[in-house]
Symmetry: C2
Subunit: 298 residues, 2 copies
Amino acid sequence: MLERVESLMREYVKELSNDEIYKLFEALPHGKRLRAKLVLKIAGESDDAVRLAAIIEMIHAASLLHDDVIDDAMVRRGVASLNATEGSKQAVMMGDILYSKGFEELVGFERRIAKAVASAVTQLSIGEMMDVRLSKSFQPDSDAYMQMVYQKTAALIEATASSAAMLAGKEAHIYGVYGRNLGIAFQIVDDILDITQSSEQLGKPAMHDYEEGKTTLPYIYLYEVLDEDGKRRLKSLHGKKLSIDEKEWIKSQMQECGALQKAYLYARELGDEAVSLMRGAGEDSLAEIVTAMIERDF
Amino acid sequence: MLERVESLMREYVKELSNDEIYKLFEALPHGKRLRAKLVLKIAGESDDAVRLAAIIEMIHAASLLHDDVIDDAMVRRGVASLNATEGSKQAVMMGDILYSKGFEELVGFERRIAKAVASAVTQLSIGEMMDVRLSKSFQPDSDAYMQMVYQKTAALIEATASSAAMLAGKEAHIYGVYGRNLGIAFQIVDDILDITQSSEQLGKPAMHDYEEGKTTLPYIYLYEVLDEDGKRRLKSLHGKKLSIDEKEWIKSQMQECGALQKAYLYARELGDEAVSLMRGAGEDSLAEIVTAMIERDF
């Protein structure tokens, strides 16, 4: 079924009648297609579900193209990003094209479905700006961080799940909560892995988030329990290239005070709520997606 | 009435609950609001017309933000562009936010209205990429140029007019043709003024289009009639800073061979068709918009 989604995305891009755009699209890495899988699992394997899945994946791909431009990210899913190979202007334009084609197709759906997805894209774009702002200095406010994670990452997954539920005549709200929790937990796990995994496992430098200025949850939790000297030291390391010793200090402090564990337990709590909602709805395979995601690489 | 459109745009941006975004929005120049005026003139002064006008102006503002990033334009409407003052990343993000909020509100309209506007944005974003590609080398194909102008500039004006007609229960097709012709003629007149006006009148360097690599219609028409030496010389001047002598040579050649006149007559022909369509529909003030636009500064 995922193959039908891929093929419809190609079809949508072909409709633009532009070889250059088609080639750029074909060169994009596919990723896990988590959003498409969610739509198909929730809404079943109808033509409409395939359409919705293809549209949401196009919108997601557009957001990643712009995200990489904003972050100067040169690598995406292990391969050179479009902004690295073609320049950031091409990446901006290609993102605009995928966004707009996605929206154009989205308006074919009933209004509340289109509205749910479109609102999530607004949240996503605001979240991107929040992320940039929060990364400018050391930022120890966990509420601001969680709000940004919701907007930038979880809102579209929430809308994916709730819009698929609308399509299938299922209860949109509980699927929305499921998607929201899945999205937030996913990001927290990502933030933890950035600290605990090696560069080889990550396919990018370890602890790159903090070097880039992102004060993720484990850093915030660590900061809360450090003494004044420790707080000063942690802040002084923010947003710069870290030495091996500095990385070791951060990691050992986090392990000692339980910051990593605390972040993990928070992700797990969100995940557990999502699992029990889905078990209650008889959606075992949706519950398993959460469990697999939470437990990846721990 | 235009004040109600301005105020609704501010309302929409306020709904995003983010001071940074609101400030950036407030700092954007307003422009002529041609699209809003068209909606109000065609659809009348209803609440729905004000909403549609505000949405289309937000989408248009988003497209200009990205356009300035792509073109490295430092000035927009006589003031420093957002990418010049805040950096191109902020301009990309702000464009994404205005686009997505615009789309989010657009889905509140009936499907064919939303579809018309959304499809135009796809055309616009493809047109942007076409423009960049065509500007990479001397490009003497007038069909390719006109196709790009339609996509990048006229498609949204066409959709503005046709969607406003749908809202008012008027015949969408003729208003679409009106908007399309208005948009194309507008761009051709702009292309001519870039050659004939002084830097002071333009508020930017004269003949900047050709220096930037844009082979606009008068250049294409000139190329068609030049002898081999002339063709070589014109091509050799493409995409580089022009001296006063070089500018003089181009302008005098264009005047001599009638390239400017030919481009103007083409714009006028499109304009006349739009005028007669509107006179036929009893829409005199829409006809006058075309006439004023065609005759500006000649």
